[in-house]
Each structure stands twice: as C-alpha cells, then as structure tokens.
C-alpha cells in the first residue's frame, strides 16, 4: 500500500530529474555535432598566419585572407564550377530516370515489379564508388573520360535508388482517387498527372533533387578516379592534400560544408520520410 501512496509524490520528482537529464543529453549531443563545424569555420575566417599560429584563438578574427587565397588559388574556381555542374547533371538524371520509375511502382501492379525493386535495393549492398574503376576504361573508349557528364553518370547510380524510393513514397501518399476523378472529368492520363499529381508532388520531388545534388557534391572517390583536368572540388582538395597549406585545406573544407548545411536544412522535413521508406 505504501508504494502506491508514494507513487504520485515520487513521479513528478523523477520526471523532473528525467527532464533535466534529457535536456542535458540533447545539449551535449548538439555540442558534439556543432563544435567541430564551428572550429572549422573559425579557421576559415582567420588569416593564413593565424591558422598556422600556435596557440589558437577560439573565436574567428573575420579576416578573409584564407578565403580569398582559396578562391584565387589556381584551379579552385574551375573546380567549384565543375562540382556545381556535375551535381546539377546528377540531379537532372536521377530525377529524370527515378521519378517515372517511382510513379510506376506506386500506381501499377505488374509482373517484374519485385525484380525491379530488388535491383534498386541491391545497389545499396555495394560500395558503388568502386564501380568508377572499370568505368574509367569504358569512358576512355567512349570519350566520356574526364567529362562532367561521365562523372554525373556514376553519381547518378548513387542517387538514383534514393530518387526511386523517395518518389515512390511521395506518389503513394497521393490518393489515386484524385487522378481517377480527373480522368472521369475528361483528362488524359498525362494531363491528370500534370495538373493534379505533379503540383502535389513537386515539393517532395524538389527535396529529393536537392538530396541528389548533395550526394554528388560530397562524393570523393569516384570524382578523384574519373576526373583529371576537370576536377570537382572534392577531387581537387583530395589530390592537393599532400602539398597544400593548412589554410587552403580549411577554407576548402568550409566551402564544402556551408552549401551542405543549407541543403540539409532545405530538405529537413523530408529526411525522415525518405529514410522511413528506406526500411521497407
């Protein structure tokens, strides 16, 4: 009996303690994630002398010396442009190929559906960047070597499975009745898709496009294997790791990280929907 009598009194106290623990854990984990990024930004916003000096200050001096050295360094401008170009092509290719497949998977039942899903899921059991090695030879034969489109094709194998699965869940979330209503009102299949389904699916498609862009923007191994003259930013930074000064590395790192932060912020609402279906 006494245990029962005590419970209402003990509960708020333990709950309060639990809450404090919860908040403390969240703060600690947030610091663990954010502090290293902050330190990189401090370096990027300090002069080259400050970056190599010791001891370091924990606050940026807002000197743009490192960044302007980075931007003006031979090859950086072109590498940045290549990164954007390859990522944009990857985005277009993976949505262009992936969205129709996602739509077909969500709306039709047909023999071979399981096989296709298996093919898509199988890609995730492989370290895909490695496939850039044999492709390097094939690209030399077909003239795709060292081109933006060649690299974008490899990055698309990374991004396409996501595009298929994300668009599949998007289209599945839009009731088929909406489409059927449009058909009965005289729309063709294409019209119904364009006027009814597409506007509803567009934000999600945009999010998966941004995700495809990010995958390509961040990829290092295939980019370093497949490009020589037309290096992307990641390939450029990787190949100059040995000889480049610290402040160039840190400014380059910041140039990689800042867009990524924005991309993830832009798609944050969809991240969990994307991965939720990745479970299936």
């Amino acid at each position: 009996m006494s245990a029962v009598a005590e419970m209402p009194i003990a509960a708020p106290a333990t709950r309060k303690a639990g809450n404090w623990l919860l908040v403390a854990t969240v703060i600690l984990l947030s610091v663990w994630v954010l502090l290293p990024i902050y330190l990189l930004i401090v370096n990027a916003l300090s002069s080259p002398e400050e970056v190599t000096a010791f001891p370091k200050r924990f606050f940026p001096s807002f000197d743009f010396g490192s960044l302007s050295f980075f931007i003006n360094f031979a090859g950086v401008g072109r590498a940045l442009w290549n990164s954007v170009l390859v990522a944009t092509l990857t985005m277009i290719l993976s949505i262009g190929f992936g969205a129709p497949a996602g739509y077909a998977l969500s709306r039709f039942d047909f023999p071979g559906k399981g096989t296709f899903r298996f093919l898509v899921l199988m890609t995730r059991a492989f370290p895909l960047p490695l496939l850039a090695l044999p492709l390097a030879v094939m690209f030399i034969r077909t003239g795709l070597d060292d081109t933006a489109i060649g690299l974008a094709l490899v990055h698309t194998t990374l991004a396409l499975p996501f595009a298929v699965l994300i668009t599949f869940s998007l289209f599945s979330g839009i009731p088929v009745e909406l489409e059927e209503a449009a058909w009965t009102l005289g729309c063709t299949r294409l019209q119904a898709f364009r006027k009814v389904i597409l506007p509803l699916a567009l934000p999600g498609i945009a999010a998966s496009a941004v995700f495809a862009f990010t995958i390509s923007w961040n990829e290092v191994f295939a980019a370093a294997v497949l490009t020589i003259e037309n290096r992307t930013l990641t390939a450029f930074l990787l190949q100059s790791l040995g000889e480049s000064p610290l402040y160039l590395k840190f400014a380059g790192g910041a140039a990689l990280v800042i867009p990524a932060l924005i991309f993830i912020f832009a798609v944050r609402k969809y991240l969990f929907a994307m991965w939720g279906i990745a479970n299936r």
Binding site: S30, L40, F97, Y103, T123, L133, F221, L237, I264, A278
Partner: protein, 281 residues
C-alpha cells in the same frame, strides 16, 4: 497508349541505366580482377595479398569498422530516443543531429584535422590547461595510434546521423499503444526500451547496420585527410594501385575484395537480424 505497356515504359530508363552503370561495371570489375593481358589468372590477387601494406590495410579497415559501428549504433539509439521524448525543440534537435548526413567525408576529415593538427585546437586547449609544454604531433608518421583515434572520432562524428535518421523513422512506426500498455503495467523506461522498442525496431536496425557497415568499408577520404598514407586502408590502397602504381587489375582485385566483404556482411546481417513476416508491424 496501351495501359499494360505503360509501367514498363516508365521503368525502362531507370532499368537500362542500372544495367549499364551498375550491373555491367560490376561484371567488368570482376573480369579485370581475374585477368591480366587477356588471360585468366589469380596473379592480381597474389600481388594484392603479397604487398606488405595489404595486411595492415586489411586489419585497419576491419578494426575501424569493428570499433566505430557498435559505438555509432549506441549513439544513434541514444539520439533517436532523446529526440522521440522531446516535447519542445524536437525539429531543431533533429536538424542538428542530422547535419553530418550532408557533410562530405573529405570535409569531415578536414574538420577533425582542424582539431588534431599540431597547431590545432586540441593542442591549444591542452596547452591552455597547462597539460603540455609544446604542441604534440598527433598526426605524424610516428603516432599511428593517435591517427587511428582521430579517424575513429571523425567517423563516429560523420556517420552516426545516417543511422539516427533511419532509427527515428523506424521508431515513428511503432504504435504508441505498446508503450502505453507497458507503462500501465509499471514497466520502467529501460524495460520498455529493451522489451518493446528494440525488438520492434529490428527492421530499421537491420537497415541501419547494413548501410553503415558498407560505408565503413568505404572509408577513404577521412583517412586521407587525417593520416595521409600513414594509415593504409583498403579503399585507399585501391586508389593507390589505380593511380600511383598504375595497375588497374590489382586495383580491381582490391575492389572485388571490398565488394565481397560488403555483400558477405549484408547477407550475414540479413540473416542474423531477420524479421519473420508475421512479426512485422
């Protein structure tokens, strides 16, 4: 347009693409690994395993995966659990925890270089605290252990997010009623976690572990940024054979080895964490 043909028409581009850029290179890499100058041979594998760096790279990669993945699993579970219990600021916490998901492995390596470099923040902190007289060389060729620790930290920092996101999505699928029922019967939060969340989370755990393990065997840019060539790993050796040593057959042998390990481990986890059909929610 004929109704029956439409789905196939829609799937065609993606299927053709995956055949040309996924299945075909996969066959090609296997072919290259087993041939040299047009004839079948196992020489590439002999060259690979005969190189003095091979055992080092092999065990470094395995050891890294074996240390990093379990720690990440625990951290990801912790993150997912605290996020699911938050009432305010849930969105913000999720965004912050998910940030590393969008960060390149190379950038992650550079981020941790800023900390572990000789003139970096860790040395500054240590000397401010009076623990060291002059900056310690953490990442030199004589300090393999600290390079290893730095790589582990960077890997944990970078790739916990991907597991966390999968687990959060999975926890969202567990019906609330189970927890409520357990609470009524007086189960402690820990007991609820062990008896309800973990078993029902198995499909997500499976996905998260498989994805993460495959990523662990791809570790490359983080190591390149922090250790240069001082800490050989399998993917780095693959890159070396392709470029510095200009022998793509041996590089293909390395690639095939990594592929084999990845597929083997995928099958292993599919089997060990198998979810019977009737036990799915």
């Amino acid at each position: 347009m004929h109704g029956k043909a439409l789905p196939y028409l829609l799937l065609m581009p993606a299927t053709l693409f995956l055949c040309v850029f996924f299945l075909y290179p996969f066959a090609l890499v296997a072919f290259e690994a087993f041939t040299r100058d047009g004839g079948f041979t196992l020489d590439n594998f002999r060259t690979m395993t005969g190189n003095w760096k091979f055992p080092v790279a092999f065990w470094n990669t395995i050891l890294l995966a074996a240390i990093v993945v379990p720690i990440q699993l625990v951290m990801a579970l912790l993150m997912a659990t605290v996020v699911s219990r938050l009432e305010t600021g849930r969105g913000a916490a999720l965004y912050i925890f998910a940030i590393p998901l969008g960060i390149s492995d190379l950038a992650a390596g550079l981020i941790w270089l800023a900390i572990f470099d000789q003139s970096g923040f860790l040395n500054t902190l240590l000397s401010n605290l009076g623990l060291v007289d002059r900056p310690v060389m953490f990442l030199g060729y004589q300090s393999k252990l600290t390079i290893f620790v730095a790589v582990i930290l960077a890997e944990i920092w970078r790739a916990t997010a991907i597991m966390m996101v999968i687990l959060v999505a999975g926890m969202g699928l567990i019906p609330r009623e189970y927890h409520e029922a357990a609470e009524v019967f007086g189960a402690s939060p820990w007991k609820r976690f062990v008896k309800i969340t973990l078993p029902l989370l198995r499909p997500s755990l499976q996905t998260a572990i498989i994805l993460r393990v495959i990523l662990a065997f791809e570790v490359f840019a983080v190591v390149a940024a922090l250790g240069g060539t001082n800490l050989p790993v399998l993917m780095g050796e693959t890159y070396n054979w392709q470029f510095s040593l200009q022998d793509r057959n041996v590089a293909a042998a390395f690639a095939l080895l990594i592929l084999a390990i990845s597929v083997g481990l995928t099958l292993f986890f599919l089997r060990v964490l198998r979810v019977p059909k009737e036990a799915r929610i």
